[in-house]
Amino acid sequence: MDFLRPADWSEALEAKAKHPEATPIAGGTDLMVELNFDHRRPEILLDLSRVEQLRQWSRLPEAQGGVLRLGAGVPYSRLIDEVGAALPGLAMAARTVGSPQIRNRGTLGGNLVSASPAGDGHPPLIASGAEVEVESARASRTVPVAEFFTGVKKTVLAEDELVAAIRVPEATGPQQFSKIGTRNAMVIAVCTFAVALHPRRETVGTGIGSAAPTPRAASEAEEFLAAELAERDQWRRPTPLPESVVDRFAELVVNATAPIDDVRGTARYRTHALGVLARRTLGWAWEEYRNSAETAGRQGCA
């Protein structure tokens, strides 16, 4: 085996250009399981853990509208501590990943490229409208997270490309994430749901995990809810949501999925559970929005 140890990002891109067959390794929390069990024996490993650029995050200039650029190699534990306030939905999902040891190593880049239907990082990124920054020695491009996946464990990455970073718009309203599993730690999701309210744009974002070959948004649910909120002037004067609206939202979320039966749960269970998650997370997010609007209103009067 060859083990390539690029010291920085340009060396990493060059190495991948020269050896397109090389398998990148970041935190190793997906890849090492495959190596330990002899499910995979790459000819060449490309170690990204020394590439400092991948381990940094930054705020893009304000002109680009409050976007955080997260290096692909920032581990979950740092995402939670360092950007959790700006990206609450992502932080909630990150807190459910594996265990402290896994969160200390596992990265968002690895989570995206592994492209498991149950990747917990994906739904909140989709709900936020995040983009994947993909780069090769030839060129760079950005791909919306929802379009990054082409199937189970498949992505749009070309063989000479690496994930450089994930660009995530900062939260401008409440965000929620919820995950169904058999216990509170170390659980592959039975299904997950993320919701993000975007009051400035007066839109709603959603993300569904583990209920289709690829994670996805529930676009019809998003449009339905945004239209309801606009029609009743709810962004400015929020009141409790009518049950019929919440129910219809959940129904449209469920309609957006294509779950299967597997060892973790049946399709029927997933369908039911997702409806519950959609109702609950929307309830929590809306409650938070109403409270913050009330506080803001009171401050405005004083």
Partner: protein
């Protein structure tokens, strides 16, 4: 490859290492440090927990090549010459060890917690140990031991502060 790394403060070298083998394998089979245990090799049990650059990780999920020139801390490095570390002492006192297979990993995870979080709540202890499985104790004695170790640590450091 020849692997150079620092383990428990000491520079160490292993020859003929396959880069794709795990750091756990290197520690146990090549460096004669069998304290870290191998139970699942898939990150699920935590019995291989070690410090890598000061952060607790599963040694079974770190590729040997990734450990080149890095600093590793194992359970063997917790005690000093003649005294057990506070978590080790507390595990013995509380009876938190039965078969002992999970113990090395739990000690490293608990050591990290009490160094990071003064006076951790029960929820914080449970969260910090969520990646470590124990099949024997039912965890109650382990919780007791960590509370004990944390209290001792806070006690001794605040004494130090008063002095």
């Amino acid at each position: 490859m020849r692997l150079n790394l620092t383990v428990n403060g000491r520079p160490m070298t292993a020859d003929d290492v396959w880069e794709g083998e795990s750091l756990l394998y290197v520690l146990r089979e090549r460096l004669g440090l069998p304290g870290s245990k191998n139970a699942c090799e898939q990150g699920e049990c935590g019995s291989c927990t070690v410090y890598l650059e000061g952060v607790p990780v599963c040694a079974c999920l770190v590729a040997a090549g990734q450990a080149q020139d890095r600093e590793v801390g194992t359970v063997e490095g917790l005690a000093d010459e003649d005294e057990l570390s506070p978590v080790q002492r507390a595990f013995v006192d509380a009876g938190a060890v039965q078969c002992g297979f999970c113990t090395p990993g739990l000690l490293v995870a608990a050591d990290d917690l009490i160094n990071r979080v003064p006076d951790p709540s029960d929820a914080e202890i449970r969260e910090a140990l969520a990646g470590n499985l124990c099949r024997c104790t039912g965890y109650e004695k382990i919780m007791e031991a960590v509370r004990e170790a944390a209290a001792e640590k806070t006690g001794s450091s605040s004494e130090g502060g008063r002095r």
